[in-house]
């Protein structure tokens, strides 16, 4: 793999893609730790962009640092009407509305399959209310997820999820309530739709969160100029993709400056190992890859190999991650 370039050209991108072999025997040199859980490399998948049944044909999911599942709610959710996606330069606007078959189905089917495949599993927890979150966390407590990620930041479900994630008082109350319900490391996934991330992060830490992941999507929308109407049936959606990468880095950086100890998973527009490396320099312990995995199912694994090679040349950073510290 070539060393970091200032700009990833389409040619270089295509070259890396065609040179990547999902059938190779992987050897990881640089593991990381997130809230005491060892990841074999610092790259995981972001919730909503990973589906085991869809990607198991393309690569060995146990080779990733971790996988974060689609949000799991107490009962099945139908999600939002279609259209659910609109393209935008270097990104997309999506409004799926956390369609999922519910926690009971998840525990019976998805989680056992992921564990049987050897994956390090982060179960993403969704809810419309504090009671919803508490119910799912309780049900997950005795099962074999490695970590939980509390999604208080989806912009596409009824206001509760987002408002909890933007209100430090409500958020601290929720995290405090969930904390005694499980021994599993609890990550809280934060929204960027706030003016200052630090009071939000502080609320999570004071409530007992073991780690933070950031960022979820930005609220956005597109119009169809032929009809004058919004493209998405839900009117607004969440913006993700490389277009959010610089903002995501700033959120991680600000949080790290304010809170030197809390483990952080950086998320936002990672398309290459270099993009992931930037998050590590911003202070993240690990990253989750989202949009890239929709354009190429093996992208998270390819990015992990690219990052592994980049860390070979950065022994101090690699050493810090291995010891559970950050840059």
């Amino acid at each position: 793999m070539s060393e970091a370039t200032e700009t990833m050209t389409p040619e270089l991108d295509a070259e890396r893609r065609s040179n990547f072999d999902a059938n190779q025997k992987f050897t990881w040199h640089h593991k990381t730790q997130v809230a005491g859980v060892e990841w074999k490399n610092p790259v995981g998948t972001a919730s909503g962009t990973f589906n085991f049944d869809a990607v198991k044909w393309f690569y060995d999911v146990s080779q990733l640092g971790a996988v974060s599942t689609k949000g799991v709610s107490p009962v099945p959710w139908e999600g939002n009407p279609v259209p659910r996606t609109a393209e935008t330069p270097a990104g997309s606007v999506n409004s799926v509305g956390l369609q999922n078959p519910g926690v009971d189905y998840y525990l019976e089917h998805d989680l056992p399959a992921l564990k049987a495949a050897g994956a390090t599993v982060i179960t993403n927890v969704a809810g419309h209310s504090d009671d919803d979150y508490a119910e799912v966390v309780s049900k997950l407590a005795d099962h074999e997820s490695d970590m939980l990620e509390i999604n208080v930041s989806c912009p596409n479900v009824s206001a509760d999820g987002l408002s909890t994630g933007t209100d430090p008082v409500a958020l601290k109350r929720l995290v405090k309530r969930l904390r005694p319900l499980t021994d599993k490391p609890m990550i809280v996934k934060l929204t960027p739709n706030v003016t200052d991330i630090r009071p939000i992060a502080e609320a999570c830490i004071e409530g007992g969160a073991d780690a933070l992941s950031m960022i979820n999507t930005f609220v956005g929308m597109r119009f169809d100029i032929r009809t004058g109407k919004p493209i998405l049936a839900n009117i607004t959606g969440g913006v993700s993709g490389p277009c959010v990468h610089p903002m995501a880095l700033a959120f991680v950086y600000k949080t790290r400056q304010a809170f030197p100890e809390i483990p952080i998973i950086g998320i936002g527009g990672i398309m290459t190992g270099e993009d992931a490396l930037e998050f590590l320099y911003a202070g993240a312990n690990a990253v989750e890859v989202g949009s890239a995995a929709l354009g190429d199912p093996v992208a998270p694994l390819r990015i992990a190999t690219e990052l592994d090679a980049l860390l070979d040349k950065r022994p101090e950073l690699a050493q810090a991650l291995e010891e559970g510290r950050t840059w």
Binding site: R17, N23, A54, R84, S92, Q99, D296, P297
Partner: protein
């Protein structure tokens, strides 16, 4: 020591352009080289194309039209800047592909297949004709409707001895479907009950792909004539392989994904299509 080496489905990869021509204004026929897709693409399975512009991340899914050796062909309309990038491709250039994807038409049953296509929905039906070609337990009748230029008849005619088409100046696919039924002696009014067929006689099955309104009309026609209709749906997709859950469709089996549970569905199981009767 020998070690088990899994072989995974090939992910996104560059495919070489063999030919790219404009059949009529804004309708492109693109031939690409990819041995895996050529060997495995079943009728109504589709392939994602990706533009080389990193600003445009969404896949452009197109139904495979024909396969030949290690090459496959697509026919699609240029509808925006993304698809416009594929219009000027030159032989030797590459374009990123992923596939084949989705569940195609099930052609295992010995039957008289009637392939009813409209506009840019015709490619999967050409592929169906290709697959049925040479099978002595099946027959393929091709009924295509166009806005004006009959751009795909010649490809279907390679594989079917009965290709009929119509454009908006004469009527629509229902017009030629009625004519065909009259010849076959299939009367309307069966009201949802599949036509019984005499022993040894093959059942009639309609495969359709095209504009939504057309497919709903074909579905209603099928119900009225006691013929099962299988439609290949089009959807706005975020990934094309079952991860993102944006291409959902409401069915009698629940909310399914067009990309992996379809794109082919028996229209009797599509909710909201009943109203088209």
């Amino acid at each position: 020591m020998s070690e088990f080496k899994p072989t995974y489905f090939p992910s996104r990869r560059p495919a070489q352009v063999v030919a790219c021509e404009e059949l009529t204004d804004g309708v492109v026929r693109l031939t690409l080289r990819d041995a895996f897709i050529a060997a495995h693409a079943r009728p109504a399975q589709f392939v994602n194309l990706y533009t080389s512009n990193a600003q445009r991340l969404s896949p452009r899914p197109f139904g495979v039209c024909e396969v030949n050796g290690d090459e496959f062909t697509l026919i699609f309309a240029v509808i925006g800047k993304g698809t416009g990038e594929f219009r000027g491709l030159k032989p030797g250039q590459t374009v990123d592909v992923l596939g084949p994807l989705g569940r195609g038409y099930d052609l295992r049953e010995p039957a008289d297949y009637v392939l009813v296509g409209g506009g840019l929905g015709v490619p999967p039906l050409v592929r169906a004709a290709q697959e049925l070609h040479g099978r002595d337990d099946c027959h393929a009748t091709v009924l295509f409707g166009y806005r004006n230029v009959h751009f795909a008849d010649r490809y279907a005619a390679k594989y079917s001895d009965d290709v009929r088409s119509i454009d908006e100046s004469e009527g629509n696919v229902i017009t030629i479907l009625d004519r065909w039924a009259e010849e076959r002696g299939i009367a309307g009014g069966a009201d949802g009950h599949l036509l019984p067929c005499a022993e040894g006689e093959r059942p009639v099955r309609i495969l359709t792909c095209g504009p939504l309104g057309m497919m709903k009309a074909v579905s209603a026609w099928g119900r009225d004539h006691g013929v099962a209709v299988y439609a290949s749906l089009e959807a706005r997709m975020g990934c094309g392989f079952g991860t993102c859950v944006v291409c959902t469709v409401h069915t009698t089996r629940g909310i399914l994904k067009t990309c992996v549970d379809g794109p082919v569905f028996n229209t009797a199981e599509l909710e909201g299509w009943e109203a088209a009767r």
